[in-house]
């Protein structure tokens, strides 16, 4: 019997997708740019991101019986092939960046003498394997990780609560407005645009699709709340100057957990959030890539698709070592600018697609 997907199981992916870029990438950048004003930036960024969510939800409801690649095919005709290939490339770049960042973190904090490529191999094998199991398995993993993340987050927050000092959030406005706005924009880009990968599912495949939009907004808001509280408590504990000094402030803050001098050194449990976010998020991206290849090049054999997926996995292991050279500044630049360009590409295509669809439907109705 074919398993069914409900709205919640799809939208639970949002938590991982929106959060996958937060740890070690967007958070460091927005802290650096906005300093203590980062709290304002997060709120502005969230409001800005709602605009993209509106476009995304509209696009998701357009041609609900078709997969993403076929939607583009119907809307753009011949031009859909290069567009679909571009989407595969951008998804590949993003997933590689996220996996490499996680591998770098694990290598720098836990396995200092182990090269990141070794850890990256392990991560990519895991996500490739999940992606071969298709949407049903991925959404199950996503639902489980959703609850695990929520529990870990609540426990971490409760344990850190006594350490938070609100005075460390002051002074709030210390940077020019431009920095706050740029930081808000970057947050909105990194937070909302990965949600694009819910397109791994056609809306018609969802059993209770009428509840989809409501469920989407609920999980999206929960995800924002988590990110906001994480940032709020980290500044409240570390202060902005120390946060700027540390490479992984969101991880370092977990070292402060000390419950009655008994529960200590549990930062390794707390950081599971980052691990789960990236695993689930990039699995969705890998699945998106293989769906694109399948529909664009009309490959029907499951075995061939799996082999292609593993080849992509192998390239994803080698690729970051070529692109992210050893210069740290260069790496940070690529990690922020490159995903921003990729994400902007997706929003532009979605927007143009919606306009074309509207025009086409208008034409048909007028005829």
């Amino acid at each position: 019997m074919k398993e069914q997907i409900n709205s919640f199981s799809v939208t639970s992916l949002l938590l991982a997708l929106s959060g996958s870029t937060y740890w070690g990438i967007s958070s460091s950048y927005i802290i650096f740019k906005a300093n203590t004003s980062v709290v304002i930036s997060l709120i502005l960024g969230f409001l800005l991101s709602l605009l993209y969510c509106y476009i995304l939800l509209k696009f998701f409801s357009t041609l609900p019986e078709e997969s993403f690649a076929n939607k583009l095919k119907k809307l753009y005709g011949k031009f859909s092939i290069p567009l679909n290939i571009l989407f595969i490339i951008t998804t590949f770049l993003l997933s590689s960046t996220l996996n490499y960042r996680l591998a770098k973190f694990l290598s720098s904090q836990y396995l200092i003498d182990t090269p990141p490529i070794y850890l990256n191999t392990f991560i990519i094998f895991l996500i490739t394997y999940i992606a071969t199991k298709k949407t049903e398995t991925l959404t199950r993993v996503s639902v489980m990780s959703f609850y695990i993340c929520l529990i870990v987050f609540v426990l971490d927050t409760l344990a850190l609560l006594p350490e938070i000092s609100l005075i460390r959030l002051l002074p709030i406005l210390t940077v020019p407005e431009g920095n706050i706005l740029l930081s808000a924009f970057i947050f909105s880009v990194f937070f909302s645009l990965p949600c694009f990968y819910i397109n791994i599912v056609n809306k018609n495949k969802i059993v209770n699709k009428e509840k989809f939009n409501k469920s989407f907004m609920k999980v999206y808001f929960i995800s924002f709340l988590i990110h906001f509280i994480i940032m709020f408590s980290t500044i409240g504990i570390l202060g902005i100057d120390l946060m700027n000094l540390l490479s992984y402030p969101l991880y370092s803050v977990l070292k402060r957990i000390n419950v009655s001098s008994f529960i200590i050194s549990i930062e390794n449990v707390g950081i599971i959030l980052w691990f789960l976010y990236v695993i689930v998020g990039t699995s969705a991206m890998f699945l998106f890539m293989i769906n694109q290849i399948k529909d664009t090049f009309k490959i029907k054999k499951e075995k061939t698709l799996n082999i292609i997926l593993y080849i992509i996995g192998l390239i994803a292991i080698i690729f970051p070592n070529i692109i992210f050279n050893k210069s740290l500044i260069n790496t940070s630049f690529k990690m922020v600018i490159m995903p921003t360009i990729c994400y902007l590409f997706s929003i532009i295509i979605c927007l143009i697609s919606l306009i074309i669809y509207k025009l086409k439907t208008k034409k048909i109705t007028s005829q």
């Binding site: 094998f125 394997y129 005075i167 002074p171 210390t174 050194s265």
Partner: protein, 366 residues
């Protein structure tokens, strides 16, 4: 396909390349840091795992190098083990390191194994190594140093509990100088019995300022570091002691005036004054004397901070947080500006208990 995945997964699960057996680790619990002739002298107190006694003994290793990292590497070579600093309980730094502003913090920030939750002490005229040398069995090892400050904060508050993490926060804060707890020997000649001395702090010119016991206690009252403390109050050439608790101080900055509002709860300890406690106005008498003494202590401490151009109280930091545009902390020197700040103090003292005795022994004899 599954077999291929299984094969690759097995390859990945063969173990970590940087895996170290516990026997090959040298667990450091204490560290002494000195800086002379452009070199760090690092002394590490390491748990002797070879010791067959019930309680592990401590071994000391010392090395000199241009960086802490290199010195620890040398110690690792001497001990023939990898140094593990996650369980570090205390570090003792020499005054030279603070005075010359030598960056020793960097090593502990960068090392991922560092938990940054160990205590930081300094010494006055001692070599920091001597403190570690005096503790070679586990009962008086760095674990003892660890509890020394916590205990002090709970019962007397003449010193300050300075963890490395808080040291970092205070060093990075604008308008606040770090206050260090000082550790020394009760018997300096025999190098016996470790005790906490009072506090020291350095201003922008790195000029040392030592706080005496009374000032250290007042500092802890004003910075909310004191949970409980005891003060002596003079009365007609005699004295009584007051045990203070429920200590709460609030800073506020209004109309270019800095306000310090302190609330204290107290209970009478010993009482030697001539005025009998059974007198109707005895409570007012005690209250007035205690109030005046505490108010004087606070005013004297603020005067000392202003005179020595040293904002160890964090007045500037509070102003920076609440009135960011009042002073350019990044370009100008706040310590020099402190003397121009109008500081007003308010004290609320509630003596809630006179203890178990209804009157003093001497009063009864009369």
């Amino acid at each position: 396909m599954k077999k291929i995945i299984l094969f690759f997964t097995l390859l990945l699960l063969t173990g970590c390349s940087d895996y170290v057996e516990i026997n090959e680790l040298a667990v450091a619990t204490g560290m002494a840091l000195d800086y002379k002739n452009n070199e760090f002298t690092v002394t590490l107190q390491i748990i002797d795992q070879q010791s067959k006694e019930a309680q592990n003994k401590m071994i000391l290793f010392e090395a000199n190098a241009e960086s802490i990292d290199k010195a620890i590497g040398k110690i690792s070579k001497l001990a023939n083990k990898k140094i593990f600093i996650s369980h570090l309980k205390a570090i003792i730094i020499s005054p030279e390191i603070i005075e010359k502003q030598i960056n020793y913090q960097d090593y502990f920030i960068r090392d991922p194994k560092s938990k940054m939750n160990f205590f930081v002490y300094t010494t006055n005229d001692l070599n920091p190594k001597d403190i570690l040398e005096s503790q070679t069995n586990s009962e008086v090892s760095s674990m003892y140093l660890d509890s020394l400050l916590s205990f002090n904060e709970d019962v007397y508050s003449s010193s300050v509990e300075l963890k490395f993490f808080n040291l970092l926060l205070e060093s990075l804060d604008q308008g606040k100088n770090v206050v260090y707890p000082v550790i020394t020997f009760k018997d300096k000649e025999k190098k016996k019995d470790i005790i906490l001395e009072n506090l020291i702090t350095y201003n922008y010119k790195n000029k040392k300022l030592t706080l005496n016991e009374k000032e250290s206690i007042t500092y802890n009252i004003l910075t909310n570091n004191a949970k409980e403390t005891i003060i002596d109050i003079n009365c007609d050439n005699k004295k009584f002691s007051l045990s203070l608790d429920d200590i709460k101080t609030k800073f506020s900055w209004k109309n270019n005036t800095f306000n310090i509002d302190t609330t204290l709860g107290g209970s009478l300890g010993s009482y030697e004054c001539e005025k009998p406690l059974t007198d109707k106005d005895a409570e007012k008498y005690i209250n007035d004397l205690a109030y005046k003494t505490l108010q004087d202590n606070i005013n004297n401490l603020i005067k000392k901070a202003k005179e020595n151009e040293n904002d160890f109280l964090g007045i500037g930091n509070h102003i920076y947080k609440f009135d960011y545009s009042y002073f350019n902390f990044k370009k100008n020197n706040w310590d020099q500006k402190l003397k121009d700040i109008d500081i007003k103090t308010k004290l609320t003292l509630n003596i809630i208990s006179k203890g178990e005795a209804r009157f003093n022994m001497e009063g009864e004899k009369q």
